[in-house]
């Protein structure tokens, strides 16, 4: 709800992944990227000396992106947005051994407060959670039970 009283600017409706149109729509739309024209359909008799080749073949299957959904007492935390950055994670004993992984810079949650909501009484903070801090939140105008929370990664000094 952009422009709502007390609503931070960044909280205007925004998703992590843009919802893109299907191909049939994108192809006819000139508002975004240029979608290349579909390859011409070759019908009729092939002229002498002409040869075409190439087909689709096997394509990879999609995988759902990982989400961080959890319940704390009566609270339901559902991730709805995330920004990540690639980081190099090295073997402390051998820096030549490393992986590149995506580290969330921020994670957006929808938090729903249930009837049996109760404070988190865990004695220890989950590993890595200390690197994030709740930087902002607000109460949804639709009701007090719905809160949007963004947690930012705090750069370690």
């Amino acid at each position: 709800m952009p422009g709502a009283p007390g609503l931070p600017t960044w909280m205007s409706y925004k998703r992590q992944l843009q919802l893109l149109p299907p191909l049939s729509t994108a192809r006819d739309s000139f508002g975004g990227k240029r979608i290349p024209r579909l390859p011409p359909v070759e019908d009729g008799e092939t002229p002498p000396g002409r040869i075409c080749w190439g087909s689709v073949g096997d394509l990879p299957s999609p995988e759902p992106l990982p989400t961080v959904n959890f319940n704390v007492g009566g609270e339901q935390w559902q991730e709805w947005g995330r920004k990540s950055e690639p980081v190099r994670i090295e073997n402390p004993d051998d820096p030549s051994q490393y992986i590149i992984d995506n580290r969330p810079k921020s994670i957006d949650f929808d938090k729903k407060t249930g009837a049996k909501s109760a404070p988190n009484t865990a004695a220890e903070v989950a590993p890595g959670m200390s690197n994030y801090e709740n930087t902002d939140s607000f109460v949804d105008s639709l009701g007090e039970k719905r809160t949007k929370v963004r947690m930012h990664y705090v750069t370690q000094s």
């Binding site: 409706y13 998703r15 992590q16 992944l17 843009q18 919802l19 893109l20 149109p21 299907p22 191909l23 994108a26 975004g32 990227k33 240029r34 979608i35 290349p36 579909l38 390859p39 011409p40 070759e42 092939t46 002229p47 002498p48 000396g49 002409r50 040869i51 075409c52 080749w53 190439g54 087909s55 689709v56 073949g57 096997d58 394509l59 990879p60 299957s61 999609p62 995988e63 759902p64 992106l65 989400t67």
Partner: protein, 632 residues
């Protein structure tokens, strides 16, 4: 005292010796020696009947006939007895001799072989019997000549003798024996049509590896060459695609047939690129909405359509319905390819020459345009330009050429056609025949069919006539009548010469290149006889589709090469739509190559070169004013 005529029997091949053959082996009552064009000389000798068989064993069959001209004994005839006897007339018999050498056929074959030279004899136009020796003379406009004394075989032009001219003034020939007649009407023109059918062929291979790599590079192949022309891995043949699996499996298979005379080269392959080419994935994350449950069918079409629309595009769909985020890693295939195509050309071609040669003759014909005053030379041949000739070489030189007649060798074939027409026009231009009888003198008995005769007589048009001796006869009778009769054929041309036009230079300025490279429009060529000029065939376009088999390479052999579904298109699409996998199915990498067809087409080229009139010698002037004596 014998003589002045002598008759001596001799052996075959016996050389004349005036001191030996000055005999009279038979009592000769009269003799006649004659020869006509193309024939052997013959001698009819009337002798007293010897009373024995002339073929009796031990008798000689050959004879020398000679004559004492007062200062020397000269041979007149050497021949073989051919009629035994020809007739019996009282106490006399007629013997017939022919000056025909025993090895005549071999001698003619041998001489003919030396005459089988271009352009007078061109096997390209001769589909039939190449061993026909008489056909050799057609291009020369000449006839066989057998010397009556030496029996030597040679050829002699039909209009102009090679051995000089005998001149007879009015006092040198008998008044009553001069005659003039018109023989076959001359030709006004010869219409020539020559047709050569042959098959343009050739084989070759073009390598499209780099062109295919290049077009993938242009479509943002991940292994494309670097910026500013920096070549990372030039000519690696490596391409990339998001649909590499299908591209690889669909790549042309070696030896597979392609239409138009093409097939896939045996060395064609595609495989995974070496590991030195780093592999990448194209990572895409996207969000797909989970549509709400389909609304129930209400039975109202409008309402149902509205519900369907709202289910798909309604605000709730966007804001509140569920969605799922996905990621997909499209492997960027790195494929190393070598792609060859083989061509085998087979293009039937027909080259036709149509032209008309005109004779520059005096207007003897009342209606020169009539069909009967024209001759036709029509020859055709099949595949002779692509078959080895007598030297083992193909006349066309390279069967990949698109035309034969406009090559240097083809010009010689053109010359041969024109020589055929020239022969016809010249032969028929000898339309006037003059005969006369002259005394038997030392000079006059040198007459032969290789000589001309110049006859002066005020009764002739123009007062004189010159012509090739077409027949002669030496007559010596017992009553003392010794004479020589001559017939000459006189051409009725107007004389003159020709010169070939240089034309307008169309290639480069004069002197810039050596002869042979220059091209000229409207240029003329001349026959080797030097008496005829015609327009060069260079001015005529060759019927063709523009495919030059001599320069077939990866550029000239390809009409177009296109790539749809290159990396640029594929990455754009998968990053721009809600279902990248489904979208990518619409954009597979697909290569289309249009190769220039080299088979299955026929071409016909017609050459219609312009011709200058053919000059014919003016050997008798039918247009001359009457000489003074006749006018008076």
């Amino acid at each position: 005292m014998p003589g002045p005529h002598y008759f001596a029997w001799a052996d075959e091949g016996e050389t004349f010796d005036a001191t030996i053959h000055n005999r009279e082996d038979e009592a000769v009552l009269s003799l006649s020696i004659s020869q006509s064009e193309g024939d052997f000389a013959s001698a009819q000798v009337n002798v007293l009947n010897p009373g024995e068989g002339l073929l009796a064993p031990g008798r000689q069959q050959w004879a020398w006939i000679s004559w004492d001209n007062g200062s020397a004994i000269v041979p007149l005839f050497h021949g073989r007895l051919v009629a035994v006897p020809e007739s019996i007339d009282g106490e006399a018999v007629h013997l017939l001799f022919a000056a025909r050498p025993l090895d005549f056929d071999a001698a003619k074959a041998s001489l003919a072989e030396t005459l089988r030279v271009l352009p007078y004899y061109d096997p390209v136009w001769i589909s039939g019997d190449l061993s026909d020796d008489d056909a050799v003379l057609t291009g020369y406009g000449a006839r066989w000549h057998i010397d009556r004394v030496t029996l030597a075989l040679s050829i002699s032009d039909e209009l102009e003798g090679e051995d000089g001219t005998l001149t007879f003034g009015e006092a040198d020939h008998l008044y009553d024996d001069l005659s003039l007649s018109y023989s076959e009407p001359p030709l006004n023109r010869v219409e020539i049509e020559g047709t050569l059918a042959w098959t343009q062929g050739g084989i070759g291979e073009v390598d499209l590896t780099w062109r295919i790599q290049s077009i993938f590079d242009q479509h943002k192949s991940i292994y494309a060459r670097g910026l500013h022309g920096v070549v990372g891995r030039p000519q690696s043949g490596v391409i990339s695609s998001l649909t590499g699996n299908g591209l690889m499996s669909d790549w042309p298979k070696p030896l597979a047939e392609v239409s138009g005379g093409w097939s896939v080269g045996a060395n064609t392959y595609i495989e995974e690129a070496p590991k030195s080419f780093r592999r990448y994935d194209y990572h895409v994350e996207y969000r797909q909405l989970i549509p709400p449950e389909a609304p129930a069918d209400t039975g109202d079409p409008l309402l149902d359509a509205n519900n369907a629309f709202m289910q798909r595009y309604g605000t709730a769909y966007h804001y509140f319905d569920a969605y799922t985020d996905y990621k997909v890693d499209f492997p960027i295939a790195a494929l190393k390819q070598r792609t060859f195509f083989d061509w085998k050309a087979e293009r039937p071609r027909t080259e036709i020459v149509r032209c008309t040669m005109f004779a520059d003759i005096q207007p003897l014909l009342a209606e020169p345009e009539l069909e009967e005053n024209a001759a036709k030379v029509s020859v055709s041949a099949q595949d002779t330009v692509t078959e080895p000739d007598g030297t083992g070489a193909m006349p066309i030189g390279d069967v990949r050429r698109s035309s034969y007649l406009n090559t240097d060798r083809g010009v010689q074939s053109m010359q041969y056609l024109l020589l055929l027409g020239r022969t016809e026009l010249r032969r028929r231009a000898r339309a006037v025949e003059v005969t006369c009888r002259v005394p038997w003198t030392a000079a006059n008995i040198t007459a032969s069919l290789r000589k001309n005769a110049h006859i002066v007589d005020y009764r002739l048009p123009g007062g004189e006539a010159i012509g090739k001796i077409t027949s002669y006869g030496f007559n010596a009778s017992g009553d003392g009548d010794f004479s020589v009769s001559l017939s000459i054929g006189c051409a009725i041309g107007r004389g003159g010469t020709v010169s070939a036009a240089a034309g307008t230079l169309t290639y480069v300025d004069a002197g810039y290149v050596d002869a042979g490279y220059q091209q000229a429009s409207g240029a003329e060529l001349t026959l080797p006889t030097g008496d005829f000029a015609w327009q060069t065939l260079d001015d005529f376009p060759i019927s063709d589709d523009g495919t030059n088999l001599l320069t077939m390479d990866e550029y000239t052999a390809v009409d177009s090469i296109t790539l749809s579904g290159g990396m640029d298109d594929q990455t754009t699409v998968v990053a721009s739509v809600s279902d990248p996998i489904d979208a990518l199915r619409q954009y597979p990498s697909r290569v289309c190559v249009s190769l220039r067809p080299v088979a299955g087409m026929n071409f016909e080229t017609v050459f219609t070169p312009a011709m200058d009139p053919l000059p014919i010698p003016r050997l008798i002037d039918l247009e001359a004013a009457a000489p003074g004596r006749m006018a008076a």
